[in-house]
Protein backbone atom coordinates (compact mmCIF):
# COMPACT_ATOMS: atom_id res chain seq x y z
CA UNK A 1 0.00 0.00 0.00
CA UNK A 2 1.07 3.54 -0.65
CA UNK A 3 2.03 5.61 2.35
CA UNK A 4 0.35 9.01 1.96
CA UNK A 5 1.34 10.67 5.22
CA UNK A 6 4.49 9.84 7.17
CA UNK A 7 5.32 11.62 10.41
CA UNK A 8 8.56 10.99 12.28
CA UNK A 9 9.45 12.12 15.80
CA UNK A 10 7.25 15.20 15.58
CA UNK A 11 7.79 17.57 18.51
CA UNK A 12 6.35 20.96 19.46
CA UNK A 13 7.09 22.99 22.59
CA UNK A 14 5.33 26.06 23.92
CA UNK A 15 7.72 27.44 26.51
CA UNK A 16 8.07 24.71 29.13
CA UNK A 17 5.03 22.80 27.88
CA UNK A 18 5.74 19.96 25.47
CA UNK A 19 2.50 19.93 23.44
CA UNK A 20 3.60 17.17 21.07
CA UNK A 21 6.35 14.83 22.24
CA UNK A 22 8.06 12.76 19.55
CA UNK A 23 5.03 11.45 17.67
CA UNK A 24 5.53 9.05 14.75
CA UNK A 25 2.94 7.35 12.53
CA UNK A 26 2.16 6.71 8.90
CA UNK A 27 -1.13 6.59 7.04
CA UNK A 28 -1.95 4.47 4.02
CA UNK A 29 -3.90 5.56 0.99
CA UNK A 30 -7.65 5.21 1.46
CA UNK A 31 -7.41 4.93 5.22
CA UNK A 32 -9.35 6.87 7.83
CA UNK A 33 -6.92 7.48 10.63
CA UNK A 34 -8.16 8.81 13.94
CA UNK A 35 -6.31 10.71 16.62
CA UNK A 36 -8.33 10.20 19.79
CA UNK A 37 -7.60 12.00 23.02
CA UNK A 38 -8.90 14.48 25.57
CA UNK A 39 -8.80 18.24 25.04
CA UNK A 40 -5.24 19.54 25.23
CA UNK A 41 -3.68 16.16 24.42
CA UNK A 42 -1.91 17.54 21.34
CA UNK A 43 -4.26 16.38 18.55
CA UNK A 44 -4.83 19.77 16.97
CA UNK A 45 -1.18 20.80 17.30
CA UNK A 46 -0.19 17.56 15.53
CA UNK A 47 -2.54 17.99 12.56
CA UNK A 48 -1.79 21.71 12.28
CA UNK A 49 1.91 20.91 11.97
CA UNK A 50 1.15 18.43 9.16
CA UNK A 51 -1.06 21.02 7.42
CA UNK A 52 1.73 23.58 7.64
CA UNK A 53 -0.03 26.01 10.00
CA UNK A 54 2.51 25.49 12.76
CA UNK A 55 6.24 24.89 12.60
CA UNK A 56 7.47 21.77 14.39
CA UNK A 57 10.46 22.16 16.72
CA UNK A 58 11.69 18.76 15.65
CA UNK A 59 10.81 15.86 13.36
CA UNK A 60 9.89 15.35 9.72
CA UNK A 61 6.57 15.26 7.89
CA UNK A 62 6.02 13.85 4.43
CA UNK A 63 2.72 14.18 2.57
CA UNK A 64 2.57 12.25 -0.73
CA UNK A 65 6.34 11.98 -0.51
CA UNK A 66 6.83 15.75 -0.23
CA UNK A 67 8.66 17.16 2.76
CA UNK A 68 6.17 19.74 4.03
CA UNK A 69 8.77 21.87 5.76
CA UNK A 70 10.91 22.19 2.64
CA UNK A 71 7.98 22.64 0.22
CA UNK A 72 5.14 24.23 2.18
CA UNK A 73 3.54 25.66 -0.97
CA UNK A 74 3.52 22.40 -2.95
CA UNK A 75 1.37 20.45 -0.53
CA UNK A 76 -1.41 23.07 -0.45
CA UNK A 77 -2.79 21.72 -3.75
CA UNK A 78 -2.78 18.18 -2.32
CA UNK A 79 -4.49 18.62 1.02
CA UNK A 80 -7.94 19.71 2.16
CA UNK A 81 -8.42 21.06 5.64
CA UNK A 82 -11.27 21.60 7.99
CA UNK A 83 -10.03 23.55 10.99
CA UNK A 84 -11.51 23.13 14.44
CA UNK A 85 -13.36 26.40 13.94
CA UNK A 86 -13.68 27.73 10.44
CA UNK A 87 -15.18 31.18 9.97
CA UNK A 88 -15.58 32.89 6.65
CA UNK A 89 -17.05 36.15 5.44
CA UNK A 90 -20.55 36.70 6.89
CA UNK A 91 -21.75 38.43 3.75
CA UNK A 92 -21.05 35.59 1.33
CA UNK A 93 -23.41 32.93 0.00
CA UNK A 94 -22.68 29.20 0.34
CA UNK A 95 -22.23 28.54 -3.38
CA UNK A 96 -20.18 31.72 -3.82
CA UNK A 97 -17.64 30.77 -1.17
CA UNK A 98 -17.23 27.25 -2.60
CA UNK A 99 -16.64 28.75 -6.08
CA UNK A 100 -14.25 31.29 -4.55
CA UNK A 101 -12.15 28.64 -2.82
CA UNK A 102 -12.26 26.51 -5.97
CA UNK A 103 -10.70 29.40 -7.88
CA UNK A 104 -7.67 29.30 -5.59
CA UNK A 105 -6.62 25.85 -6.84
CA UNK A 106 -5.21 24.63 -10.14
CA UNK A 107 -7.83 21.90 -10.29
CA UNK A 108 -11.17 21.99 -8.50
CA UNK A 109 -14.48 20.15 -8.39
CA UNK A 110 -17.60 22.03 -9.59
CA UNK A 111 -19.49 23.54 -6.67
CA UNK A 112 -22.70 21.73 -7.65
CA UNK A 113 -21.04 18.34 -6.99
CA UNK A 114 -19.65 19.48 -3.66
CA UNK A 115 -22.97 20.94 -2.53
CA UNK A 116 -24.52 17.55 -3.17
CA UNK A 117 -21.72 15.73 -1.36
CA UNK A 118 -22.27 17.77 1.82
CA UNK A 119 -26.09 17.99 1.32
CA UNK A 120 -26.27 21.76 1.14
CA UNK A 121 -28.02 22.11 -2.24
CA UNK A 122 -31.09 23.75 -0.72
CA UNK A 123 -28.84 26.21 1.15
CA UNK A 124 -26.63 27.19 -1.78
CA UNK A 125 -27.94 30.76 -1.94
CA UNK A 126 -28.11 31.29 1.82
CA UNK A 127 -25.72 33.77 3.42
CA UNK A 128 -23.07 32.13 5.58
CA UNK A 129 -24.14 34.07 8.70
CA UNK A 130 -27.68 32.63 8.53
CA UNK A 131 -26.54 28.99 8.72
CA UNK A 132 -26.79 26.73 11.78
CA UNK A 133 -23.69 25.31 13.46
CA UNK A 134 -24.04 21.99 11.65
CA UNK A 135 -24.51 23.68 8.28
CA UNK A 136 -21.46 25.90 8.84
CA UNK A 137 -19.48 22.77 9.66
CA UNK A 138 -20.62 21.22 6.37
CA UNK A 139 -19.55 24.38 4.51
CA UNK A 140 -16.14 23.96 6.17
CA UNK A 141 -16.08 20.36 4.85
CA UNK A 142 -17.10 21.56 1.41
CA UNK A 143 -14.18 24.02 1.38
CA UNK A 144 -11.85 21.19 2.40
CA UNK A 145 -13.10 19.05 -0.51
CA UNK A 146 -13.04 21.72 -3.19
CA UNK A 147 -9.64 20.73 -4.66
CA UNK A 148 -10.38 16.98 -4.61
CA UNK A 149 -7.52 16.53 -2.10
CA UNK A 150 -5.27 13.48 -1.72
CA UNK A 151 -5.48 13.84 2.05
CA UNK A 152 -8.32 15.34 4.03
CA UNK A 153 -7.79 16.74 7.54
CA UNK A 154 -10.88 16.94 9.74
CA UNK A 155 -10.16 18.51 13.12
CA UNK A 156 -12.96 17.66 15.56
CA UNK A 157 -15.61 17.79 12.83
CA UNK A 158 -18.54 17.14 15.18
CA UNK A 159 -17.56 18.99 18.36
CA UNK A 160 -20.40 21.19 19.54
CA UNK A 161 -22.97 19.71 17.14
CA UNK A 162 -26.31 18.23 18.18
CA UNK A 163 -26.82 14.47 17.63
CA UNK A 164 -28.72 14.92 14.35
CA UNK A 165 -26.04 17.23 12.88
CA UNK A 166 -23.35 14.85 14.10
CA UNK A 167 -24.98 11.94 12.27
CA UNK A 168 -25.13 14.05 9.09
CA UNK A 169 -21.40 14.70 9.29
CA UNK A 170 -20.73 11.01 9.98
CA UNK A 171 -22.74 10.08 6.89
CA UNK A 172 -20.60 12.41 4.77
CA UNK A 173 -17.38 10.94 6.19
CA UNK A 174 -18.60 7.37 5.61
CA UNK A 175 -19.41 8.31 2.03
CA UNK A 176 -15.93 9.77 1.55
CA UNK A 177 -14.42 6.58 2.94
CA UNK A 178 -16.36 4.53 0.38
CA UNK A 179 -14.87 6.71 -2.34
CA UNK A 180 -11.38 5.86 -1.11
CA UNK A 181 -10.36 9.22 0.39
CA UNK A 182 -7.52 9.30 2.85
CA UNK A 183 -8.66 11.10 5.98
CA UNK A 184 -7.02 12.17 9.22
CA UNK A 185 -9.63 12.81 11.86
CA UNK A 186 -9.20 14.13 15.37
CA UNK A 187 -11.87 13.64 17.98
CA UNK A 188 -12.48 13.32 21.67
CA UNK A 189 -15.59 11.19 21.07
CA UNK A 190 -14.69 7.53 21.31
CA UNK A 191 -17.84 6.41 19.51
CA UNK A 192 -16.84 8.62 16.59
CA UNK A 193 -13.41 7.02 16.41
CA UNK A 194 -14.92 3.53 16.73
CA UNK A 195 -17.52 4.08 14.03
CA UNK A 196 -15.44 5.90 11.44
CA UNK A 197 -11.76 5.04 11.77
CA UNK A 198 -9.87 2.02 10.46
CA UNK A 199 -6.98 2.80 12.78
CA UNK A 200 -6.88 4.93 15.89
CA UNK A 201 -3.94 6.51 17.67
CA UNK A 202 -4.76 7.24 21.29
CA UNK A 203 -2.96 10.41 22.25
CA UNK A 204 -2.36 11.79 25.72
CA UNK A 205 0.06 14.46 26.99
CA UNK A 206 1.54 14.81 23.53
CA UNK A 207 2.34 11.13 23.04
CA UNK A 208 0.67 8.31 21.15
CA UNK A 209 0.13 5.71 23.87
CA UNK A 210 -1.57 3.09 21.68
CA UNK A 211 -2.14 2.68 17.96
CA UNK A 212 -4.21 -0.02 16.27
CA UNK A 213 -7.63 -0.82 14.84
CA UNK A 214 -10.45 -0.04 17.30
CA UNK A 215 -11.24 -3.76 17.64
CA UNK A 216 -7.63 -4.72 18.35
CA UNK A 217 -7.22 -1.89 20.84
CA UNK A 218 -10.17 -3.20 22.83
CA UNK A 219 -9.28 -6.90 22.51
CA UNK A 220 -5.58 -6.45 23.28
CA UNK A 221 -6.34 -4.38 26.34
CA UNK A 222 -7.91 -7.47 27.89
CA UNK A 223 -11.11 -5.57 28.51
CA UNK A 224 -14.07 -7.37 27.09
CA UNK A 225 -16.87 -6.09 29.26
CA UNK A 226 -17.47 -3.22 31.56
CA UNK A 227 -19.70 -3.26 34.62
CA UNK A 228 -20.80 0.22 35.62
CA UNK A 229 -22.27 0.91 39.04
CA UNK A 230 -22.80 3.64 41.61
CA UNK A 231 -21.99 3.36 45.29
CA UNK A 232 -20.48 5.31 48.18
CA UNK A 233 -16.66 5.69 48.17
CA UNK A 234 -16.13 3.45 51.24
CA UNK A 235 -17.91 0.60 49.49
CA UNK A 236 -15.94 1.21 46.30
CA UNK A 237 -12.67 0.97 48.22
CA UNK A 238 -13.69 -2.45 49.51
CA UNK A 239 -14.67 -3.55 46.00
CA UNK A 240 -11.35 -2.31 44.62
CA UNK A 241 -9.52 -4.45 47.21
CA UNK A 242 -11.61 -7.50 46.49
CA UNK A 243 -11.44 -7.42 42.69
CA UNK A 244 -7.77 -6.48 42.34
CA UNK A 245 -7.02 -9.73 40.56
CA UNK A 246 -10.18 -10.08 38.48
CA UNK A 247 -10.37 -6.66 36.86
CA UNK A 248 -9.67 -2.98 37.04
CA UNK A 249 -11.93 -0.62 38.98
CA UNK A 250 -11.86 2.99 37.79
CA UNK A 251 -13.68 6.01 39.05
CA UNK A 252 -15.80 8.12 36.72
CA UNK A 253 -16.74 10.75 39.30
CA UNK A 254 -20.12 11.34 41.02
CA UNK A 255 -19.69 8.02 42.90
CA UNK A 256 -19.81 6.17 39.59
CA UNK A 257 -17.36 3.34 38.97
CA UNK A 258 -16.42 0.93 36.20
CA UNK A 259 -15.21 -2.61 36.75
CA UNK A 260 -13.61 -3.96 33.58
CA UNK A 261 -13.48 -7.71 33.26
CA UNK A 262 -13.15 -10.60 30.84
CA UNK A 263 -15.80 -12.74 32.43
CA UNK A 264 -18.75 -10.48 32.87
CA UNK A 265 -21.38 -12.90 34.22
CA UNK A 266 -19.03 -14.51 36.76
CA UNK A 267 -17.68 -11.16 37.95
CA UNK A 268 -21.17 -9.69 38.14
CA UNK A 269 -22.32 -12.55 40.37
CA UNK A 270 -19.29 -12.13 42.59
CA UNK A 271 -19.82 -8.40 42.76
CA UNK A 272 -23.43 -8.62 43.85
CA UNK A 273 -22.66 -11.33 46.38
CA UNK A 274 -19.72 -9.38 47.81
CA UNK A 275 -21.75 -6.20 48.16
CA UNK A 276 -24.62 -8.06 49.84
CA UNK A 277 -22.20 -9.70 52.32
CA UNK A 278 -20.55 -6.36 53.11
CA UNK A 279 -23.69 -4.20 53.18
CA UNK A 280 -22.58 -2.10 50.21
CA UNK A 281 -25.51 -0.51 48.44
CA UNK A 282 -24.99 -0.81 44.66
CA UNK A 283 -27.16 1.21 42.31
CA UNK A 284 -27.52 1.73 38.57
CA UNK A 285 -25.73 -1.47 37.63
CA UNK A 286 -25.22 -2.02 33.93
CA UNK A 287 -23.10 -4.37 31.87
CA UNK A 288 -21.86 -3.51 28.40
CA UNK A 289 -19.12 -4.30 25.91
CA UNK A 290 -15.84 -2.50 26.51
CA UNK A 291 -15.20 0.59 24.35
CA UNK A 292 -12.22 2.75 23.41
CA UNK A 293 -13.22 4.92 26.34
CA UNK A 294 -12.45 2.02 28.68
CA UNK A 295 -9.13 1.45 26.91
CA UNK A 296 -8.27 5.10 27.45
CA UNK A 297 -9.28 4.84 31.10
CA UNK A 298 -7.13 1.76 31.54
CA UNK A 299 -4.10 3.36 29.87
CA UNK A 300 -4.27 6.75 31.58
CA UNK A 301 -6.41 6.30 34.66
CA UNK A 302 -8.52 9.23 33.46
CA UNK A 303 -11.76 9.54 31.56
CA UNK A 304 -11.86 11.03 28.06
CA UNK A 305 -14.86 13.14 28.94
CA UNK A 306 -13.15 14.98 31.80
Amino acid sequence: MDIVVKVDNLTKKYGDLIAVNGISFSIEKGEIFGLLGPNGAGKTTTVEMIEGLRKPDNGTIKVCGIDTQKNPENIKELIGTQLQSTTIYDQIRVKEVIDLFGSYYKKSIPSSEILEEVSLIDKKNAFYRTLSGGQKQRVAMALALVNDPEVLFLDEPTTGLDPQARRNVWAIITDLRKRGKTIILTTHYMEEAEQLCQRVGIIDHGKIIALDTPTNLITNSGLESAIEFSCLPEGADKIKQKFKGAGNVSELGDNKFILNTKESSKTLKELTRFSDDNNINLENISVRKATLEDVFLLLTGRSLRE
Partner: protein, 245 residues
Amino acid sequence: MRALMGQIALEIKLFLRRKDELFWNLAFPLFFMVLYGLIYGDTIWGEIKAIDYMFPGIIVMALMVNGIMVAATIFVEERGKGIYRRLSLTPLKRHTIIGAQIIHRYMVTLIQTILLLAIGIFGFKVNITGNYFYFWLLLTFGSLCFLSIGFALATLIRSTRSATPICLIVFFMMLFLGGIFFPLDVMPDFMSVIAKVLPSTHLNDAIRLVVIEGAGLGTVWLDLLIVGAWFLVSLVVSIKFFRWE
Protein backbone atom coordinates in the same frame (compact mmCIF):
# COMPACT_ATOMS: atom_id res chain seq x y z
CA MET B 1 -3.17 38.25 -12.09
CA ARG B 2 -6.36 36.19 -12.33
CA ALA B 3 -6.19 35.57 -8.59
CA LEU B 4 -5.80 39.31 -7.94
CA MET B 5 -8.81 40.17 -10.13
CA GLY B 6 -10.83 37.50 -8.33
CA GLN B 7 -9.95 38.93 -4.92
CA ILE B 8 -10.79 42.48 -6.06
CA ALA B 9 -14.18 41.23 -7.29
CA LEU B 10 -14.70 39.60 -3.88
CA GLU B 11 -13.79 42.83 -2.04
CA ILE B 12 -16.26 44.80 -4.17
CA LYS B 13 -19.00 42.23 -3.57
CA LEU B 14 -18.42 42.31 0.20
CA PHE B 15 -18.25 46.13 0.13
CA LEU B 16 -21.68 46.39 -1.50
CA ARG B 17 -23.12 44.00 1.09
CA ARG B 18 -21.60 45.58 4.19
CA LYS B 19 -23.99 48.27 5.37
CA ASP B 20 -21.53 49.78 7.86
CA GLU B 21 -18.86 50.07 5.18
CA LEU B 22 -21.26 51.71 2.72
CA PHE B 23 -22.34 54.13 5.44
CA TRP B 24 -18.84 55.19 6.46
CA ASN B 25 -17.41 55.33 2.96
CA LEU B 26 -20.24 56.93 1.04
CA ALA B 27 -23.03 58.31 3.20
CA PHE B 28 -20.83 59.86 5.92
CA PRO B 29 -18.62 62.17 3.76
CA LEU B 30 -21.47 63.02 1.38
CA PHE B 31 -23.64 63.95 4.35
CA PHE B 32 -20.98 66.42 5.57
CA MET B 33 -20.60 67.87 2.08
CA VAL B 34 -24.34 68.52 1.81
CA LEU B 35 -24.58 69.74 5.42
CA TYR B 36 -21.80 72.30 4.98
CA GLY B 37 -23.15 73.36 1.62
CA LEU B 38 -26.57 74.03 3.11
CA ILE B 39 -25.26 75.78 6.25
CA TYR B 40 -22.61 78.02 4.72
CA GLY B 41 -23.83 78.36 1.17
CA ASP B 42 -22.14 81.39 -0.30
CA THR B 43 -20.77 82.77 3.00
CA ILE B 44 -17.37 84.43 2.53
CA TRP B 45 -14.60 83.75 5.07
CA GLY B 46 -11.94 86.41 4.63
CA GLU B 47 -10.97 86.13 1.00
CA ILE B 48 -12.35 82.65 0.40
CA LYS B 49 -15.84 81.15 0.12
CA ALA B 50 -16.68 78.97 3.15
CA ILE B 51 -17.50 75.93 1.03
CA ASP B 52 -14.20 76.29 -0.84
CA TYR B 53 -12.42 76.34 2.50
CA MET B 54 -14.31 73.24 3.66
CA PHE B 55 -14.05 71.13 0.48
CA PRO B 56 -10.41 69.89 0.91
CA GLY B 57 -11.19 68.96 4.52
CA ILE B 58 -14.08 66.78 3.43
CA ILE B 59 -11.82 65.05 0.89
CA VAL B 60 -9.25 64.38 3.65
CA MET B 61 -12.03 63.14 5.92
CA ALA B 62 -13.18 60.70 3.22
CA LEU B 63 -9.59 59.41 2.85
CA MET B 64 -9.32 58.93 6.60
CA VAL B 65 -12.67 57.11 6.78
CA ASN B 66 -11.44 54.74 4.10
CA GLY B 67 -8.02 54.06 5.60
CA ILE B 68 -8.42 54.41 9.35
CA MET B 69 -12.08 53.59 9.95
CA VAL B 70 -12.81 50.96 7.30
CA ALA B 71 -9.57 49.27 6.14
CA ALA B 72 -8.19 48.88 9.67
CA THR B 73 -11.38 47.68 11.42
CA ILE B 74 -12.31 45.22 8.69
CA PHE B 75 -8.80 43.78 8.59
CA VAL B 76 -8.77 43.29 12.38
CA GLU B 77 -12.23 41.72 12.24
CA GLU B 78 -11.36 39.27 9.46
CA ARG B 79 -8.08 38.42 11.15
CA GLY B 80 -9.89 37.87 14.48
CA LYS B 81 -12.36 35.51 12.85
CA GLY B 82 -9.49 33.41 11.49
CA ILE B 83 -10.38 34.05 7.84
CA TYR B 84 -6.75 34.75 6.89
CA ARG B 85 -5.66 31.67 8.79
CA ARG B 86 -8.06 29.55 6.72
CA LEU B 87 -6.93 31.25 3.50
CA SER B 88 -3.28 30.54 4.33
CA LEU B 89 -4.05 26.82 3.82
CA THR B 90 -5.01 27.50 0.19
CA PRO B 91 -2.55 28.36 -2.59
CA LEU B 92 -3.80 31.98 -2.50
CA LYS B 93 -0.83 34.27 -1.83
CA ARG B 94 -0.90 36.74 1.03
CA HIS B 95 0.29 39.64 -1.10
CA THR B 96 -2.71 38.98 -3.36
CA ILE B 97 -5.05 39.43 -0.38
CA ILE B 98 -3.42 42.71 0.71
CA GLY B 99 -2.98 43.93 -2.88
CA ALA B 100 -6.68 43.39 -3.62
CA GLN B 101 -7.66 45.24 -0.45
CA ILE B 102 -5.46 48.23 -1.31
CA ILE B 103 -6.67 48.40 -4.94
CA HIS B 104 -10.29 48.07 -3.81
CA ARG B 105 -9.94 50.85 -1.20
CA TYR B 106 -8.24 53.07 -3.76
CA MET B 107 -11.13 52.50 -6.18
CA VAL B 108 -13.55 53.46 -3.41
CA THR B 109 -11.53 56.66 -2.86
CA LEU B 110 -11.83 57.56 -6.54
CA ILE B 111 -15.60 57.01 -6.46
CA GLN B 112 -15.95 59.00 -3.22
CA THR B 113 -13.98 61.87 -4.70
CA ILE B 114 -15.94 61.95 -7.96
CA LEU B 115 -19.21 62.03 -5.99
CA LEU B 116 -17.93 64.77 -3.66
CA LEU B 117 -16.64 66.80 -6.62
CA ALA B 118 -19.95 66.45 -8.46
CA ILE B 119 -22.03 67.52 -5.46
CA GLY B 120 -19.54 70.27 -4.59
CA ILE B 121 -19.34 71.77 -8.05
CA PHE B 122 -22.92 71.35 -9.25
CA GLY B 123 -24.68 71.64 -5.90
CA PHE B 124 -22.70 74.30 -4.08
CA LYS B 125 -20.46 75.93 -6.71
CA VAL B 126 -17.13 74.84 -5.23
CA ASN B 127 -14.43 76.74 -7.07
CA ILE B 128 -11.72 74.41 -8.40
CA THR B 129 -9.04 76.65 -9.90
CA GLY B 130 -6.17 74.16 -9.63
CA ASN B 131 -4.95 71.43 -11.93
CA TYR B 132 -6.97 68.17 -11.83
CA PHE B 133 -3.87 66.08 -12.51
CA TYR B 134 -2.21 67.54 -9.42
CA PHE B 135 -5.42 66.88 -7.51
CA TRP B 136 -5.27 63.23 -8.56
CA LEU B 137 -1.62 62.99 -7.52
CA LEU B 138 -2.37 64.46 -4.06
CA LEU B 139 -5.39 62.18 -3.71
CA THR B 140 -3.37 59.07 -4.54
CA PHE B 141 -0.56 60.13 -2.22
CA GLY B 142 -3.02 60.86 0.60
CA SER B 143 -4.89 57.60 0.01
CA LEU B 144 -1.65 55.57 0.28
CA CYS B 145 -0.70 57.48 3.44
CA PHE B 146 -3.98 56.82 5.27
CA LEU B 147 -4.25 53.21 4.08
CA SER B 148 -0.76 52.70 5.38
CA ILE B 149 -1.73 54.27 8.73
CA GLY B 150 -4.81 52.02 8.74
CA PHE B 151 -2.76 48.85 8.24
CA ALA B 152 -0.23 50.03 10.86
CA LEU B 153 -3.12 50.43 13.32
CA ALA B 154 -4.45 47.00 12.36
CA THR B 155 -1.08 45.41 13.15
CA LEU B 156 -0.82 47.17 16.50
CA ILE B 157 -4.42 46.50 17.64
CA ARG B 158 -4.64 43.07 19.27
CA SER B 159 -8.32 42.40 19.89
CA THR B 160 -11.31 42.78 17.59
CA ARG B 161 -13.30 44.50 20.31
CA SER B 162 -10.85 47.37 20.73
CA ALA B 163 -10.49 47.98 16.98
CA THR B 164 -13.49 50.28 16.47
CA PRO B 165 -12.95 52.49 19.56
CA ILE B 166 -9.22 52.92 18.87
CA CYS B 167 -9.80 53.70 15.20
CA LEU B 168 -12.56 56.17 16.11
CA ILE B 169 -10.26 58.01 18.52
CA VAL B 170 -7.45 58.26 15.96
CA PHE B 171 -9.93 59.29 13.26
CA PHE B 172 -11.55 62.08 15.29
CA MET B 173 -8.21 63.28 16.65
CA MET B 174 -6.88 63.68 13.11
CA LEU B 175 -10.19 65.23 12.05
CA PHE B 176 -10.53 67.86 14.80
CA LEU B 177 -6.85 68.67 15.25
CA GLY B 178 -6.21 68.67 11.52
CA GLY B 179 -7.84 72.04 10.91
CA ILE B 180 -10.59 70.37 8.94
CA PHE B 181 -13.61 71.72 10.79
CA PHE B 182 -12.07 74.90 12.20
CA PRO B 183 -8.86 76.80 11.50
CA LEU B 184 -5.73 76.11 13.53
CA ASP B 185 -5.49 79.75 14.80
CA VAL B 186 -8.51 79.29 17.10
CA MET B 187 -6.83 76.36 18.91
CA PRO B 188 -4.83 76.68 22.16
CA ASP B 189 -1.06 76.60 21.57
CA PHE B 190 -0.40 73.03 22.70
CA MET B 191 -3.11 71.74 20.38
CA SER B 192 -1.77 73.58 17.39
CA VAL B 193 1.64 72.04 18.09
CA ILE B 194 0.07 68.58 17.77
CA ALA B 195 -1.89 69.72 14.73
CA LYS B 196 1.31 70.78 12.99
CA VAL B 197 2.69 67.23 12.93
CA LEU B 198 -0.51 65.46 11.82
CA PRO B 199 -0.77 64.25 8.22
CA SER B 200 -4.39 65.38 8.03
CA THR B 201 -3.36 69.02 8.63
CA HIS B 202 -0.74 68.97 5.92
CA LEU B 203 -2.72 67.06 3.32
CA ASN B 204 -5.62 69.44 3.94
CA ASP B 205 -3.35 72.48 3.46
CA ALA B 206 -1.75 70.97 0.35
CA ILE B 207 -5.09 70.20 -1.32
CA ARG B 208 -6.46 73.64 -0.42
CA LEU B 209 -3.46 75.48 -1.83
CA VAL B 210 -3.11 73.35 -4.98
CA VAL B 211 -6.71 72.49 -5.86
CA ILE B 212 -8.64 75.51 -4.63
CA GLU B 213 -6.06 78.25 -4.90
CA GLY B 214 -4.22 76.91 -7.94
CA ALA B 215 -0.69 76.72 -6.48
CA GLY B 216 1.96 74.38 -7.93
CA LEU B 217 3.24 71.26 -6.17
CA GLY B 218 6.50 73.07 -5.34
CA THR B 219 4.65 75.42 -3.01
CA VAL B 220 3.51 72.55 -0.80
CA TRP B 221 6.77 70.53 -0.66
CA LEU B 222 6.97 70.70 3.13
CA ASP B 223 3.39 69.42 3.51
CA LEU B 224 4.13 66.56 1.11
CA LEU B 225 7.33 65.73 2.98
CA ILE B 226 5.42 65.38 6.27
CA VAL B 227 2.63 63.29 4.70
CA GLY B 228 5.34 61.17 3.05
CA ALA B 229 7.08 60.68 6.39
CA TRP B 230 3.83 59.39 7.92
CA PHE B 231 3.37 57.07 4.96
CA LEU B 232 6.87 55.61 5.30
CA VAL B 233 6.79 55.21 9.08
CA SER B 234 3.37 53.47 8.96
CA LEU B 235 4.53 51.29 6.10
CA VAL B 236 7.59 50.16 8.06
CA VAL B 237 5.45 49.48 11.16
CA SER B 238 2.90 47.50 9.09
CA ILE B 239 5.54 45.37 7.39
CA LYS B 240 7.66 44.80 10.49
CA PHE B 241 4.86 43.87 12.91
CA PHE B 242 2.31 42.45 10.46
CA ARG B 243 0.19 39.64 11.90
CA TRP B 244 -2.08 37.31 9.98
CA GLU B 245 -3.41 35.51 13.06
